[in-house]
């Protein structure tokens, strides 16, 4: 049935829509990892919104407007990238992808863009031209699908273009139709990883070279492979140690690494949640939507500056250096050198209560309620995001009457309210994990602005991390910096981000090696990324154990191998 449906889909002009729907349906077609493998399974990952945008920009340039809406991602193990291998595309999202695909295709072939983006000209613009269509669709298809199209795929796309061109007497309309169908193809919308046996190690499996190129490219650039990387995949050099290192170093030197680093940390720090948070304007009139955008950017600038320079990851929690805009400076309550300018370097003075990324608006405002702070949310985020620890959800019947009542004359500060709340035995356990950390950040209100009193009562910012006492958020950053769980967690996060799935217990050895190397590399995230992407283990996958469903349908790799492409 599925095979029949698959074949039918491919015969339709809008076949890609249909094929996508097929791929997005719950499928038994897949690979189940062997339990004893040292690597996890190959994954099928939905292309993220920024990855989609970056792909279109890479291929067609920034002047192509994308529009449309992307469905929110699914976060798993603290990362959307891990969630991409568990996410599907709903019918409503498919509709959005279809709208975007048609819009993009129409712009690519319109008179303003066609001469620049289409490398050949038809004999006549009112008729079909298979040679030109084949050239364009072959070139673009390789970049969209992140591998060359098979002969059959290319022939199919040319046929789609010709059919549409004939019916409309417009070569470019035909081309747009075919391009739109590729833009909604599962081969584009999903990053499908293909496993092949590893010749050097019996019983071991690894990603095929194109899947390898994709994993490498999305890890470092959050973008699909460029032509040079695809060429390295095609000629097999990417499968050699030297070839892989050559490509990795090229990509690490590229300015595009910034986008990759930003994407990694935006995901890890859950900055996508800024799209949905709001603040009570009566309580925090200074918090406007612009603040959310700039707060996220501020943190990513602070981080990428350090990471790209090979800085010590742990310093991010104590650094006094950051960037501010005039708007953000108003939240921080400081003057800025050029009020008419954009981003400007800023350094907190010695002894300032702010130091490190945890005292930035992006953390304290994101992990707060609309009308009040939340030491619990902040403490929980700190443990989960930066220490990879799990804090259980509160029980369903928990009574929030103390913590919600911010005007209670008896409990005037969050500390007092939480003490009353956490007195309940059911609550005490978890609050011991979260509150000593979160309470040390109480001098930052829900908008991220600094304060010293709450309800006319001086705020006590004493806290502790694993029994180590400190006072204030800056000191907490120092305590965090000295916690060995901090570097271990970032190693785990980066690796999970790269492979796009939960790490298995059998990968512990690899993780431990990376963690030890990270220490030896003076906690340079950039070096960590290089170690990961140049290690063959990063591309190893579990052997397929069960293949069901479309078992008779040969893989693209097999097709390519058979056709000699």
């Amino acid at each position: 049935m599925r095979k029949k449906m698959f074949s039918r889909c491919l015969t339709l002009t809008a076949g890609a829509v249909c094929a996508a729907a097929l791929a997005m349906a719950p499928s038994t077609h897949g690979v189940v990892a062997a339990e004893t493998s040292e690597a996890g399974p190959a994954a099928v990952r939905v292309l993220g919104a920024t990855q989609y945008r970056q792909t279109i920009a890479d291929i067609f340039g920034r002047s192509i407007e994308i529009g449309g809406r992307f469905a929110p991602g699914v976060r798993d193990e603290g990362l959307l990238e891990v969630g991409t291998s568990r996410a599907s595309i709903a019918a409503s999202s498919l509709e959005q992808y279809d709208i975007m695909a048609r819009s993009i295709a129409a712009q690519v072939v319109d008179p303003q863009h066609r001469d620049m983006l289409i490398s050949c000209k038809p004999a006549t613009p009112t008729a079909t031209d298979d040679a030109c269509a084949s050239k364009f669709l072959g070139e673009v298809g390789q970049l969209l699908f992140r591998r060359p199209l098979t002969n059959a795929e290319l022939a199919k796309q040319v046929t789609v273009a010709a059919t549409a061109a004939q019916s409309s007497n417009d070569f470019y309309a035909g081309l747009a139709n075919s391009l739109a169908s590729m833009l909604i193809s599962p081969e584009f919308l999903f990053r499908k990883e293909i496993a092949v046996p590893e010749s050097a190690k019996a019983g071991a499996w690894k990603l095929d070279t194109y899947s390898k190129a994709s994993r490498l490219s999305f890890m470092l650039w959050n973008a699909p492979p460029d032509r040079e990387l695809l060429a390295a995949a095609a000629d097999g050099s990417l499968d050699t140690k030297a070839g892989l290192e050559r490509q990795a170093d090229r990509m690490l030197r590229s300015s595009r690494l910034t986008a990759g680093v930003r994407a990694l940390f935006a995901d890890m720090l859950q900055l996508d949640k800024f799209e949905t948070i709001s603040k009570d304007p009566k309580i925090y009139p200074q918090y406007t939507p612009d603040i959310s955008v700039e707060a996220a950017d501020q943190t990513l600038r602070t981080i990428s500056d350090s990471v790209l320079a090979g800085g010590d990851y742990r310093d991010l929690f104590t650094t006094r250096k950051t960037y501010l805009t005039p708007l953000l400076a108003s939240i921080y309550g400081v003057a800025i050198n050029n009020p008419n300018g954009g981003w400007q370097a800023y350094e907190y003075p010695e002894g300032d209560p702010r130091a490190g990324i945890l005292t930035q608006v992006s953390f304290v405002a994101l992990h707060s309620h609309p009308g009040r702070t939340s030491p619990t949310l902040r403490g929980r985020a700190l443990r989960e995001v930066f220490l990879c620890q799990r804090v259980p959800d509160p029980p369903g019947d928990v009574d929030f009457k103390f913590v919600d009542d911010t005007s209670n004359p008896t409990y005037r500060t969050a500390r007092a309210r939480l003490s009353a709340h956490a007195a309940a035995p059911a609550c005490a356990g978890c609050h011991k994990m979260t509150d000593p950390l979160g309470l040390s950040m109480e001098q930052f209100d829900s908008s991220g602005a600094f304060r010293t009193v709450e309800n006319e009562t001086e705020i006590d910012v004493s806290g502790d991390l694993n029994g180590k006492p400190f006072k204030g958020a800056a000191a907490m950053g120092q305590a965090l910096k000295e916690d060995p769980a901090l570097p271990a967690c970032i190693v785990r996060r980066v690796l999970s981000y790269g492979v796009g799935r939960r790490l298995s217990r059998d990968e512990t050895a690899f993780l431990n090696t990376l963690t030890a190397d990270f220490s030896g590399d003076k906690y340079s995230v950039k070096k960590l990324m290089r170690r990961i992407v140049t290690d063959p283990q990063f591309y190893r996958v579990a052997p397929p154990e069960v293949v069901v469903g479309l078992a008779s349908e040969p893989s693209v790799a097999t097709k390519l191998a058979k056709s000699g492409e």
């Binding site: 009566k282 009139p285 108003s330 400007q344």
Partner: protein, 374 residues
């Protein structure tokens, strides 16, 4: 208990200041014997005519007419027939198109040929402008005298307060305020537009070490104010000072009981070429104090040239007159008649009129370092 605009008493402010975070700064700034010199800058968030509202008895003759009423009356007085008037005003003010037959009538309603806004004397003072009749107003005793017509200050109860602009405009329905926190409609609307178009105004207050002397600087900024989530002026923004000396004012004052009062001086602030090109005050004084939120609030009083007050509105002619119901020729006559300072040596006609403005400001910064080149 002394009342201040918008419902806060001086006593309650002092109490609140002691209880809030703002107190730390405000007491340092406003204490009569500050331990250290300190400068704090504010960006003006509100600046509009200080229109005291005491209730309906403020205007014993009632409010001034609506535009349609004074248009019809004045056209009838000018010799137009009732039939003619009824015809042109059959659809007033009209459906938004330029087909407004009444417009060509009201523009020349003085002598039938000249633009009445450019030549307001063509429409004689009919004595229809209704004036404020109450004794309370915001402002200062600018001339040092306490005449029978003078006001008593609504907050400080100072006698001999001069505010003839309030007397003239206070019963025009779009100038009438309301009980705090309501603001007078047209003046606040004007400021709403102005503050988005004109560069910000900055007030820097420096306390003198160990004394109750203060120095205020009023400057224009190079940047405009921006709005916060409640559409008010965003606090804590940084501004550069406009080097144009026309808008640079240095004023001396004193702090008494947490209230800054400045000495009489001339103040000039360049605003916006289209709305209010220039604010020029002579013998002007400021009375300012902190709000519990750490903002600045008070009154600026002084003499202002009356003719520019008229022309700023008159250039907008009937398009401004009919929606605001401000009878511009009558405003001209009222301001001219009640002008109370600076007599013209040749004619004896006073050229300036006493006035008062509400001043409110939020904390701001002045750019500390060199301005980066664009």
């Amino acid at each position: 208990m002394v009342r201040v605009p918008f419902g806060l008493s001086a006593g309650s402010i002092r109490t609140l200041l002691r209880r809030t975070a703002a107190a730390t700064f405000s007491l340092a700034i406003f204490a009569s014997a500050a331990a250290h010199a300190e400068t704090k800058t504010f960006a003006v968030s509100w600046f509009h005519n200080a229109t005291y509202y005491g209730g309906p008895n403020d205007c014993p003759d009632g409010l001034n007419e609506k535009a349609i009423d004074f248009y019809k009356r004045e056209l009838l007085q000018s010799g137009k027939t009732q039939k003619e008037i009824d015809e042109v005003f059959a659809d007033f003010p009209g459906n938004g198109t330029l087909k407004r037959p009444w417009q060509s009538y009201v523009v020349v309603r003085g002598n039938g040929k000249d633009n009445v806004y450019a030549h307001p004397d063509t429409l004689p003072d009919t004595g229809h402008l209704k004036l404020i009749g109450s004794k309370l107003a915001y402002g200062f005793n600018l001339d040092g005298k306490d005449g029978p017509e003078d006001f008593e200050e609504a907050d400080t109860h100072e006698k001999g307060v001069d505010n003839e602009v309030y007397r003239v405009t206070g019963c025009i329905r779009t100038y009438v305020g309301g009980p705090p926190p309501y603001r007078p409609t047209w003046p606040s609307q004007n400021w709403e537009i102005l503050r988005d178009q004109a560069p910000a105004w900055l007030i820097s207050i420096t306390t003198e070490k160990g004394s109750n002397e203060v120095t205020l600087k009023i400057d224009r900024a190079l940047e405009r104010v921006t709005r916060d989530a409640t559409s008010e002026v965003r606090a804590n923004m940084t501004f550069r000072v406009d080097p144009d000396p026309r808008s640079h004012n240095v004023i001396h004052g004193k702090i008494e009981n947490g209230v800054i009062v400045t000495d009489p001086t001339d103040i000039r602030i360049v605003a916006d070429v289209r709305l209010n090109p220039d604010f020029r005050f002579s013998k002007a004084r400021l009375r300012l104090q902190m709000t519990p939120e750490g903002n600045l609030k008070g009154i600026l009083g002084g003499y202002e040239y009356w003719y520019p007050i008229y022309t700023v509105l008159a250039i907008r002619a009937q398009a401004f007159e009919f929606p605001t119901s401000i009878n511009l020729p009558m405003l001209y006559h009222g301001l001219k008649k009640h002008a109370d300072a600076d007599p013209d040596p040749a004619t004896g006609q006073n050229r300036q009129i006493s006035t008062a403005y509400v001043v409110e400001a939020v904390p701001a910064f002045i750019a500390p370092g060199p301005v980066a080149s664009k």
